[in-house]
Symmetry: C2
Subunit: 548 residues, 2 copies
């Protein structure tokens, strides 16, 4: 039997897929996830690998599909927890992954997968298939056990005119289909969109048009892993006689790695160092800048606020957003646009020109074409949230797949495929949210987040009651410290009332105070009532009894 | 001289415009604003009326443009702070405003404006003009002083086929243009969009198509003030033989008021009470439900979570979102969609069908048409953020307005128009953010928010050091309470270290401890260093010295 278990990856987040037979385990991807707005102060999420740490089975290897952070940036957290095993990826993916690991001083060799011969890991036979995506050198994998063949169709689109001319390997996909596929795991993120996604090279003209009438600096921002977009912008700028500089750590690192490996060809004579831009007239400059999602601290956001040392926004400048906001980032993106507009720059973004970005994900047409080429027995949408999976299932229906041949998995839920190639939903592995906050991994949990949320929304009160050890009597003044509740100067009267309530609780206790719990509970209740009545607020109340 | 000062309203937020002559003041609108993600725990914003409270001039009245909360829901907060003056609005706007005030027991009569005769308030002559918007009975105003004529073109679109057949009064607008307009204040929120906004009635067919193939309940959600959308959905459902129930306080209140005033005509025989729906088969039901923005606690969100008493989502149900997410609400909306999809319902929303909602705001075409009809001397975009104003200025340029005839005002910045009808930017009134949190108005400020933010992201530590009054020596154990930092059980070692640091600080002080400030500062610094080194976290540290 083969089990497929997503430990993450059922949205654009912390991809980690487990392929498990009776003796062996093969892993695909090891990415990070992004906290939602309830995860206050959390930097990122990583997949819960408890299942892998507890298994006695042999992990025979790991495959990486492409170089996006939700597929590779979890490696420095995940790998040290697991026994050593070989890793395989395409050249650029390996380069990006090695860079992520280097930042954490995690040193693991990543083997380059041979697209012709494939690789065998334990009893798993693996073939890799070139596909196109918003980062170059992406791969799909066919994972075959003696009885079952699974097509792992991670993030992709079918671009017939990619910037580097390296088209998806349709022939190979068709061949695999001919040999027979049991399960197709398929990207489904853009299953809501009709037709085919536009080609990366379709942007050429609209980018060119934008540069033509730019009087001052042209500033282009895009996702920093979108190597081909960076290349397009640079080439167009160079043709227009502009010098080009890259700004932002992520853009610079990715460009360096991609250049070293031959995936990015920047026009050498046109490239200049960041510091040199002050010596070049604005109308001869093109800056490619990180921060297209309005990220706090990014080069673009600092420039928009007038806080960037080198990039000074001028009214003659034009800023082109060659990226759409990822859902949840809209507010940050629009704030950045407004700030740039405030400095007088012309800002071009999706709402005023929708031909400056294309998605890297397959639309309905491509998703249906992949089904048709592979003719798998079963479909499993991955890489999208539930609504995307539902839309993917509808596409499946159009292609003749009845609902019982499409499996919508939850994270941790396993798909079991028996020797006869019959699939069914198996058991669900309990997973926890592993949150990374600063240097702490997994030490922030529900309780910590609940407290943070409460303090964030309502503030908190610390009530300190000094009690004499011997007598059990109050031995000093009750102190109340509040933070995040109300202006202290405006709240004197209220705090006096609050202290009064605390004294009332203490006086009501006739015996020596040793039942700390009851006293604390009493204080908490009375103060909750007071603040709810006076302010309709519900601060976190922490009574502390000091024994002196 | 006439001064125009926006105390709010330079985005979709807390509209309040001041028209001021040497002796008198006229106000337009009194709305609420919505907190951004840095305003933790804040419920809503209201305009800062300090300027009005301090003026000796006579406030001669207030006009209300339309019944949206960002234009009227601030009244219960604003009016009690100001002297009494007459209010004027259209019938539905007056009805909605009265409802908002009733909730706060603020009783003020709102006069119905006479569209034929207009009204005179002090020396201001006012005419009202019917326009169309996403709430019925919206108005523009012409405000005329002896020398100056201002067209107050608040939120609108030009809908030639509105649901109630009441078209914008183009004749009157043209007439006003002929008489001469000094300044046009104009909605600019959709200045990025080309062409003309689609008519409300263009949705009829697509809504009808959705209902046709609904097997179970049809659930429609829209903005609760969108009376005509509610009417369309109800009529279509009734024609399809379904019974209709309204769910959600805002929808129910608005529908009641609009019906009483004749602006909403629900098919009487088809309407049923909420409780009766359990007796009606799903395929004969249409529920019109509040919560299109994924609002916490709304009927739709509770239903999506399986927590609504009456609305049980079934796999045969269809949920239609007849509203787009307002920027910033995307995550909440998509979470609601995913939750509904999880319950098996078919969910129809913008990404799968973009013909289920039209905007209530004018696109470029309508904005340019309004300029052309009025031929004002100056343009002032309102109701949008800076990027929208910049786009509006571009439209002005296309219509022959040089940049010096278009004024982009900040909130608080005044436009001064002299006796000869010449406009220029005047002084800026300092405004503060007045935040409403529970029952507290304006008692949450920068300090409180900064503390909330810090506690939200990093948590907090309270360090309690008992010191004996007489001797100035430590008189008990140091206690450290943490909330929102790390799991307490995982942090014992760390807390021991922290206590150690505190003792080190105290021991380093040789004299009796009376210099509380220095001790507190020392504790704070050492603990900051410890937590930064161990966890890269920066909790709020509150040292407390208890004298016993």
């Amino acid at each position: 039997m083969l089990k497929i278990i997503p430990l993450g990856g059922m949205a654009v987040t912390k991809n980690l897929f487990v392929y498990e037979t009776d003796e062996e385990i093969l892993l695909v991807d090891g990415g990070i996830g992004f906290p939602d707005e309830t995860m206050l102060g959390v930097d990122l999420l990583i997949p819960d690998t408890t299942y892998l740490q507890n298994t006695k089975k042999k992990i025979v290897g790991m495959l990486l599909t492409h170089g996006h952070d939700d597929h590779i940036a979890g490696l420095p957290y995940i790998l040290p927890k697991l026994p050593e095993f070989p890793l395989f990826a395409s050249r650029l993916t390996a380069g990006f992954a090695a860079e992520r690991m280097k930042e954490f001083s995690v040193m693991r060799r990543i083997n380059i997968i041979d697209d012709v011969r494939g690789v065998r890991l334990g009893k798993f036979a693996i073939e890799s298939i070139r596909v196109t995506h918003s980062v170059p050198d992406a791969r799909h994998f066919v994972i075959t056990t003696p009885n079952v063949s699974v097509y792992h169709g991670s993030d992709f689109k079918f671009d017939l005119t990619p910037i580097d001319g390296v088209r998806p390997d349709f022939q190979k996909i068709a061949d695999i289909g001919k040999r027979g596929v049991t399960v197709l795991l398929s990207d489904c993120l853009r299953s809501e969109r009709p037709g085919f996604s536009a080609s990366e090279s379709s942007l050429n003209e609209s980018l060119e048009a934008e540069i033509r009438d730019t009087k001052g600096k042209l500033i282009v921002t895009t996702m920093s892993s979108n190597v081909h977009r960076i290349q397009q912008a640079a080439q167009i700028a160079a043709r227009a006689g502009r010098r080009i500089a890259l700004f932002g750590r992520s853009v610079e690192v990715n460009a360096r790695v991609a250049q070293e490996l031959g995936f990015l060809k920047l026009p050498k004579q046109a490239m200049v160092k960041k510091k040199s831009i002050r010596n070049i007239p604005d109308n001869q400059l093109c800056l490619i800048v990180a921060g297209s999602q309005g990220q706090e601290g990014s080069a673009l956001v600092r420039a928009a606020r007038g806080e960037h040392r080198e990039i000074k926004i001028q009214p003659s400048d034009k800023v082109v957003f060659s990226a759409d906001p990822i859902p949840g980032n809209e507010r940050a993106v629009y704030e950045t646009i407004d700030a740039l507009a405030h400095r007088g720059a012309e800002v071009i973004y999706h709402d005023v020109n929708d031909e400056l970005h294309v998605s890297g994900h397959a639309s309905s047409g491509e998703l249906m074409l992949l089904m048709e080429l592979l003719k798998p027995k079963y479909l499993v949408p991955i890489g999208g949230t539930y609504r995307h999976m539902v839309q993917y299932r509808k596409l499946g229906e159009k292609m003749g797949y009845s609902a019982d041949r499409v499996f919508l998995l939850e994270e941790g839920q396993s798909l079991e495929i028996n020797m006869r190639g019959e699939a069914r939903i198996g058991e669900t592995i309990p997973l926890k949210n592993v949150m990374v906050d600063g240097l702490g991994i997994g030490d922030v949990g529900k309780v910590v987040l609940r407290d943070r949320q409460l303090m964030a929304e309502e503030g908190m009160l610390v009530v300190i009651v000094p009690i004499e050890k011997q007598t059990g009597k109050i031995s000093g003044d009750v102190e109340i410290i509040s933070r995040g509740v109300v202006f202290m100067k405006e709240s004197k009267q209220l705090m006096d009332k609050a202290r009064g309530e605390v004294y009332t609780v203490i006086k009501s206790i006739k015996t020596p105070i040793r039942e700390w719990r009851a006293v604390k509970e009493g204080i908490r209740k009375r103060l909750e009532r007071l603040f709810s009545k006076e302010l309709e607020r519900f601060p976190l109340i922490i009574p502390i009894i000091i024994r002196t």
